[in-house]
Subunit: 311 residues, 2 copies
């Protein structure tokens, strides 16, 4: 459960294991190509759905997933993501967003299911510590406001009704993995949807939170791992998680310096209880991918998650 | 061989028979969504290719062919045909128009082959009887000039080099079906491509011309069946055809009246030699589809073509 690239990473890693995967995806996104399609077509947000579909595609040829990810760079369609346009056209062709996602799933030969957390046309709002109210995921995500101000509350308007299939998947799951992803704009918007929080509480699945690697300016400045958990406790329900998976590998200094310019900081694993027996149990592992960006390695992440399933 | 809806009709009908189909498609189109993509992306014309791909698709679910045919009616992508955008994105993803068509063929599970007649970026020109020169297929097709003026000559600029696979398909064919389709803007642009005329002459295939049902204002005003054939003799080579398939069923009077407003007239089969033994042999049959437009019935047309194959 999540949205964005974090969910893509989890799904890409786990699909190599013999597990039945269901992606439950936030529907609060309103930036970029997704935002334009929301405005112009009155369409539900497609971006995170598209990423999850591509992650779970078992289509043998790369061109189809390349096509879904392709972003036009010329002409009238400049800036539009192709997969989003496919979903927009499929919505018109099939008559509903739900059928469009199902059709795209068949088209991409998706193994598993990709479920929008809601089919309600929800908008994310945030209130800052100075009282200011920000409308729209993209305005929270890329702050025009003073990004150092803390978010004191986020909510959806309308609250939205949970996709019944998402509720069922949560109840039937053996394990629920939440995150990694932007806390207020990708993760919490899922549990804000009416019915999801309750379904999570009722589910007997093992619940795992994959801790983010970095804080995010305008959302989680200065947050420690404990702050992330406290916020999730507040929104998803107290002591929801059985496990928290946290990375121990510090990114190289020169990369951290670049991130620091964007006011993002590494979330240290220091202070995590060792051999803890209480809920949640903290599982530490080196989860970093090599490269210029601080990202989870999908194979390492999936391996750690599978260990928890088998525990 | 052709372009446009006529070729779609032939392919849709023939695909129900156990025959290996290859569509050779004109690349002179420059109108509508295709024209915009030619201008903005420097892309080869996609429209006729797309129609042929959809005709030969054996994808079990209708949504994929619906998607390829879908035309956006809102926002920045207004007027764009979705299949054309798929081909545009696939061209960028795969690196060439040829690979894009191949990828789209796999995507649609095309039985047979769809071959652009050329990969050269050709433009169609026409000279009218008053000396005026018209540039572009769409300007000839939808005349801004006096549509009653006869076309005295059409040519491609550049002449274009034949797609080697199209040349091979022509040489290896058991039967070549040309038309129906707009004479100067869909049919003749194929034989104008360097190498195609020669390949047709060298091929030992049975060659069938499917006569149009109606004349077209600005292209073939007042043309009889004999005029169509004389024009094809001039461009494709004298006495090219073994068979000419011609419809005998007159459209209803009220439909003909509507067409008359667009200065289009039914092409009568009267005067066609009966039981002729000379080349070309004229095959007459009731080929009209029921409906508000004067169109070939794909099943009837395919049945008549199959009779010629078996003759």
């Amino acid at each position: 459960m999540g949205g964005g690239t974090g969910t893509f990473t989890v799904l890409s890693g786990l699909k190599k294991y013999p597990v039945d995967l269901t992606a439950i995806v936030s529907m609060a996104d309103d930036g970029g190509s997704t935002g334009i399609l929301r405005e112009e077509f009155g369409m539900l947000p497609a971006g995170d759905i598209r990423r999850a579909l591509v992650a779970l595609s078992s289509y043998p040829e790369k061109f189809l997933t390349d096509l879904f990810t392709y972003r036009f760079r010329e002409g009238e369609v400049d800036g539009h993501n192709f997969g989003n346009l496919i979903l927009a056209a499929l919505e018109r062709v099939t008559g509903s967003f739900e059928d469009a996602v199902a059709a795209a799933s068949r088209l991409l030969d998706v193994r598993g299911a990709v479920l929008p957390v809601t089919f309600s046309n929800v908008r994310l709002y945030a209130q800052l510590e100075n009282g200011e109210i920000i409308k729209g995921e993209t305005n929270i995500d890329i702050p025009k406001h003073d990004g150092r101000l803390r978010i004191v509350r986020v909510w959806l308007q309308p609250k939205g009704r949970a996709n019944p299939k998402a509720v069922k998947a949560i109840r039937d799951a053996d394990m629920i993995v939440i995150g990694p992803g932007d806390l207020f704009t990708s993760i919490i918007p899922n549990v804000l949807v009416s019915g999801i929080r309750k379904a999570l509480r009722k589910s007997s699945a093992k619940k795992v939170y994959v801790m983010n690697l970095m804080t995010k300016h305008g959302e989680t400045n200065g947050f420690t791992g404990a702050d992330f958990l406290a916020m999730l406790d507040a929104y998803a329900g107290a002591r929801m998680f059985d496990y928290v998976l946290i990375n121990t590998m510090c990114p190289p200094e020169h990369i951290l310096r670049r991130y620091k310019k964007e006011r993002a900081e590494w979330i240290s694993y220091k202070g995590v209880p060792q051999r803890n027996q209480e809920r949640p149990r903290f599982i530490t592992a080196a989860l970093l991918r090599r490269g210029n960006y601080v990202r989870h390695d999908s194979a390492k992440l999936a391996k750690s998650i599978m260990k928890i399933i088998q525990a």
